[in-house]
Symmetry: C2
């Protein structure tokens, strides 16, 4: 059985998008539920999700364990796994890690572009690595089974998180920086450290992470995946589409500026292009995973390899990542 | 297999008290984790419990389903089920019912002595019954599997909650008022409505609920239980000891006055006796359940009847109360 799993989406959710997930045969998605929100605000976002689960039980349900991916397939629905792109939701309180894990949070980025209480973001001039609290929180995340996600973190912080974490770390949505040198993409050193520790890299389809931006071709994208597979192996590779469907530009402004500045921060954009960029025409929503499959086949991937990249690897990673820590799990995964 | 289940405790928890639970063979306890606390403050209390579960895993663990009672017995531990004595923890936000249920909250009192957003407390001069929000919240509690607990509610509110709830309601800690006419004890009408709807009454051992207070004898207490069993049947009866061990008097002041008054409210106490009353000498902590068993035998209960009152009835009630609603569950329980 091959599963289709998307390692990151942040859409403006609606019945229409849920139906696209079903039309695309997506068994599971890691969705971002919070950026700069406090704990209480994050809980309000969870309440909104609970309402969607209650309203559309035939389309989506909340995933808590990797087994929920198979349950989704059996029942013709999509399992939704929660994640946070910034640690604002745990405030300054390590006890909230376990509380949010109980509420289903399965991924937590230690930073979103900026310095956080835990580590440095990829847009900071200085990266001092994991903070004192950062080391404690990574250990607590390891204990309860919450994935350390370093997609928006700085290089040193990322390498230190990989080294300090006793369980494999993920970069849920980014591409190799030697293909497209965006601050958000990842160096050979980071990707190699991820691969050597049993971690995961989810290839992004967000135009700012693509060579050529919105004009990037499917062939170029698939060839980039093929090169990455040759270099680091296939087992660590997945997709993290970073789909942000139907979001108004005010949302990308919130993602970038939160409450930390009164000025406009353009993040990966610019004054000329401040809003959400247009997706590549060959990947506009979840119904386009079939095109992605064709693109991977066209650059020479075998069927089993495509299955692994489009979901099998994430499914295996979920299995070893979401439960209570087992001693020496990281070693066994290598 | 007969289980020992206590339907309410609010002690100043410590390893010493957890060891008393084990020495007393208590398989499960419904513990109060919050009174007037906001949602965020309640979560901080849950964090404190999570710490205890992490520190003393060989003594206690959090119970989520009725099956955890048997797990507790098999593993020689006590399952701790969370409850709230006032709805402050859901603030004005019905979505917090499902969130708190996910965090393990299995009982919620609609009121604590005073008027709440949901209903009237037993100390209000006027009881207007369930409020608009109260009716909505009871329906939501019914949906997710959270027990409506009317221990501290007024008569009309209690009767309306029993009538409006589609699942059986509990009075986790109170005694019949015709035995001891305290405002917190329950009328024949309330107890009969509970019995007819498959609800539960947990007999309290808190001195203010006892005839003679701290001087109440075991024989008197057991005879009161026997009379109640004769009148309403045994199936609805359990114990809700209301043990508040090792609490300073400042805690009873918080329970009574919260943040709703700047004056002292003596609640069930008085200016002459403002603090926690002394427990009856035959029931000081969880190690005294054996004495209770002997007392029930002495007034003529058979072994199987004592098993039902000391835990079997709560265990059955937990089974039908904590899961997602099944249509017509209330009828089936009758």
């Amino acid at each position: 059985m091959s599963f289709l799993v998307d390692g990151l989406q942040y859409s403006n959710w609606s019945e229409a998008i849920f139906r696209q997930l079903r039309a695309g045969g997506v068994d599971a998605v890691h969705v971002t539920i919070t950026y700069h929100e406090t704990f209480r605000e994050t809980v309000a976002n969870i309440e909104r999700w609970n309402r969607w689960f209650e309203l559309f039980p035939e389309l989506v349900f909340q995933g808590f364990t990797a087994e929920d991916i198979a349950l989704a397939r059996r029942t013709g629905r999509t399992a939704i796994f929660f994640g946070a792109q910034n640690p604002s939701c745990i405030e300054d309180d390590i006890g909230l890690v376990e509380v949010l894990h109980r509420l289903g949070l399965r991924f937590l980025q230690l930073t979103y572009n900026n310095q956080s209480l835990l580590a440095a973001g990829c847009y900071e001039a200085e990266d001092g690595g994991l903070t004192r609290m950062g080391r404690e929180v990574v250990a607590e995340m390891n204990r309860v089974g919450m994935v350390v996600d370093m997609s928006h973190s700085g290089e040193r912080s990322t390498l230190e998180a990989i080294a300090h974490s006793t369980r494999p770390v993920a970069v849920t949505h980014a591409n190799p920086s030697d293909w497209h040198p965006a601050l958000r993409n990842k160096s050979d050193r980071v990707i190699r450290a991820l691969a050597e520790s049993g971690g995961m890299l989810g290839f992004s389809l967000y135009p700012h992470h693509l060579k050529g931006g919105s004009a990037c071709t499917l062939q170029d994208y698939a060839a980039m995946i093929a090169r990455t597979a040759e270099r680091y192996g296939i087992a660590m590779l997945g997709i993290g589409s970073d789909l942000c469907q139907d979001q108004p530009d005010s949302v990308v402004a919130w993602m970038r500026a939160g409450r930390w500045t009164k000025r406009v921060d353009y993040g990966e954009g610019s004054a000329e292009a401040p809003g959400f960029p247009a997706m590549p025409r060959w990947f506009r929503d979840a119904r386009d995973f079939g095109a992605l499959r064709d693109g991977l086949a066209a650059v020479g991937f075998a069927g089993g390899e495509i299955d692994a990249i489009l979901g099998g690897n994430w499914e295996r990673f979920f299995h070893t990542s979401f439960g209570v820590a087992v001693p020496e799990q990281k070693r066994a995964a290598q």
